[in-house]
């Protein structure tokens, strides 16, 4: 009896407060804020009673929650990895500190990022909904979770808040809010940080809290690789074009082994390497991918075509294909960013083209542009821009083919 009262308490409270927020009530100007909390905490008691609406249990709230659940493994691993990198850099062994101390350290470092991301983003969403008289929707739940996972853990919090504000306002609300945006808001936040504060997003001094070290991807693609590596390779200077330098450095890694810091493929797959919070562990990302594919929330076509695009392009040389998959943000972007149902292509054929081009583009940026070690973000943002065009062409081709068929059969 007691427990039942406790469970029903928020319900009763909300119902008691509701009249004040309805039209004509003293707090009616706050009605979208009230409705947002009501929808978030309870199942709203009002349903459509006429018309031909399709009733389905799968609404925006449920879709978003599924993605958030799929992100949890990466988040937890990211917390652990943050602590792991810190203690490893200190020279402490795991036996000395223990699992929970490592996790606790990372938890305390990652939690502020999450809080800042959600507070800033939801604050702006609530304010805009209030101004426009719209309902607050659940669109930001996933974005707010994604943003802390794709930044270095050492990013200053005010920069993160600024990036969140930029992506929510300029990237989403200006275009009309959730579902109307052209670019993935989380990636837009990352792009903002990347171009506004490059020193905090790439390089060797940012990935590990309290120490320094380049990500494996940066070491391989030469974006921030230390110059000593180049000179120690003893290749003729004229061969040191950007492309040649990747070749030689790769050759040195796989045959001679001049670059000792580079982790093995298994290390990269497990994910105990420096990198953005949630992107390092491919195991956890695959776990999330399984959840997304099983529930039908994300398109497996995009994930598959993204990997195959990377495979085709990786034949051009440089880094082997299986390294592309586990390095940097490829897996994370492929599973959680490229499959964003709003900004990816909508047609089924379009999804194949969209994903494929993302894979190709990513590897091109990684191999041929030493200024940007990571190509995933730029590739996805670029293809987001072209997604409507891809859809348009797919539909136009389809229409043309059917017109021809009609003409042939008279």
């Amino acid at each position: 009896m007691k427990l039942r009262n406790l469970i029903q308490f928020p319900d009763k409270l909300m119902r008691k407060m509701a009249p004040a927020f309805r039209k004509g009530g003293p707090l009616s100007f706050l009605h979208s804020t009230f409705e947002a909390f009501e929808a978030f905490l309870l199942v709203p008691d009002r349903v459509t009673d006429k018309g031909s609406h399709i009733r389905d249990a799968n609404d925006l709230k449920r879709v978003m929650i599924v993605v958030v659940i799929a992100l949890v493994p990466s988040l937890l691993f990211g917390m652990f990895n943050t602590g792991w990198q810190y203690y490893t850099a200190l020279g402490t062994t795991t036996a000395q500190v223990g699992f929970f101390q490592i996790f606790w350290y990372g938890f305390l470092k990652v939690l502020p990022l999450l809080v800042v991301s959600y507070v800033t983003g939801l604050g702006i969403e609530f304010a805009i909904a209030q101004i426009r008289g719209h309902q607050v929707n659940e669109g930001y739940l996933v974005t707010g979770m994604l943003i802390p996972l794709i930044v270095p853990v050492t990013i200053p919090l005010w920069m993160l808040a600024l990036a969140v504000a930029f992506s929510v306002l300029i990237g989403k609300e200006i275009f009309g809010g959730t579902g109307m945006n052209i670019w993935n808001p989380a990636l837009l936040a990352r792009a903002f940080l990347f171009f506004a504060y490059p020193g905090y997003m790439t390089g060797e001094s940012i990935w590990i809290d309290g120490s320094s070290g380049a990500t494996p991807l940066a070491l391989l693609t030469g974006g921030t690789a230390p110059l000593e590596h180049l000179s120690s390779l003893a290749v003729p200077l004229e061969q040191l074009t950007e492309h040649a330098s990747i070749w030689t450095r790769m050759a040195s890694h796989f045959h001679i082994g001049v670059v000792p810091e580079l982790p093995s493929w298994t290390d990269l797959f497990i994910g105990l390497v420096p990198g953005s919070v949630g992107e390092t562990s491919v195991i956890c990302i695959l776990l999330g991918a399984a959840i997304l594919i099983f529930t039908g929330v994300a398109s497996w076509k995009i994930m598959l075509s993204c990997a195959s695009g990377a495979f085709l392009m990786s034949l051009a040389g440089g880094i082997p294909f299986h390294y592309h998959l586990v390095m940097g943000g490829f897996a994370f972007g492929c599973v959680f960013m490229a499959t964003d149902p709003v900004t990816s292509a909508q047609t089924e054929t379009g999804k194949w083209i969209f994903g494929f081009l993302i894979g190709v583009m990513t590897v091109i940026v990684r191999l041929f542009n030493p200024g940007y070690p990571e190509g995933m973000m730029l590739a996805i943002l670029l293809m987001n821009t072209f997604a409507p065009l891809i859809d348009h062409i797919v539909v136009a081709v389809h229409v043309k083919r059917r017109m021809k068929r009609i003409a042939a059969h008279g």
Partner: protein, 205 residues
């Protein structure tokens, strides 16, 4: 002469946000405030005097070759401005580089000559040119102030954001590199268009 001839181009029909003319150079020269001011001045003078001159000879220009004549007049004035800048403000001239020469292709000038100077008396045409140049200048200055302040922490080269705020000096602040890059100028101009449109809508309703 109508008062609106002068006041409208400043806000209500401002060249960049409302008529969508001269956007290209508004993105290019607004990284710092100083070149933006010089550019605004140069465009104002060129627009004003080319409209004045072309309005004076508007009845003698054969219609079929009027574009060539307009270009000749504008090009002459632009070369004058360019030479003056090179002689007296070499540093700024270097910063503005090709964009002084490209004033010739600035849509505001040709647009206003075609739309206004060829159909109006010299004095109103001159005022229209000056006002359009100033309307362009206002946008340029607003965008440049935001970009220089947030991108470099200075204004006209003077430090506004205190030195000890920066991380390298033990503070917390960093300049926002995105404001140096052209995309941010485009976004800022877009926000200005938004403000102008919102004001316009209010005055219409």
């Amino acid at each position: 002469m109508n008062k609106r001839t002068f006041l409208d181009p400043l806000f209500r029909s401002s060249p960049v946000p409302v008529l969508a003319l001269g956007i290209c150079s508004a993105l290019a020269v607004t990284v710092k405030l100083e070149p933006a001011l010089v550019m605004a001045l140069a465009v104002t003078l060129v627009t004003g005097f080319s409209e004045l001159l072309l309005s004076l000879i508007r009845n003698t220009i054969p219609n079929r070759i009027r574009i060539i004549v307009q270009l000749m007049v504008v090009a002459t004035l632009v070369i004058l401005v360019d030479q003056v800048l090179k002689a007296f403000a070499w540093e700024i001239s270097k910063q503005l580089s090709v964009f002084v020469g490209l004033i010739i292709t600035n849509c505001i000038i040709m647009g206003r000559i075609e739309a206004f100077a060829l159909n109006n008396k010299p004095l109103p045409a001159f005022m229209d040119g000056i006002a359009n140049g100033l309307g362009y200048g206002i946008v340029l200055v607003v965008v440049a102030v935001v970009r220089e302040l947030l991108g470099s922490g200075t204004l006209m080269g003077y430090r506004i954001v205190p030195e000890h705020w920066y991380v390298s000096q033990g503070g917390f602040y960093e300049n926002n590199g995105l404001f140096i890059l052209p995309p941010m100028a485009l976004i800022l101009v877009g926000l200005l268009v938004w403000i102008y449109n919102a004001k316009q809508a209010k005055s219409v309703w």
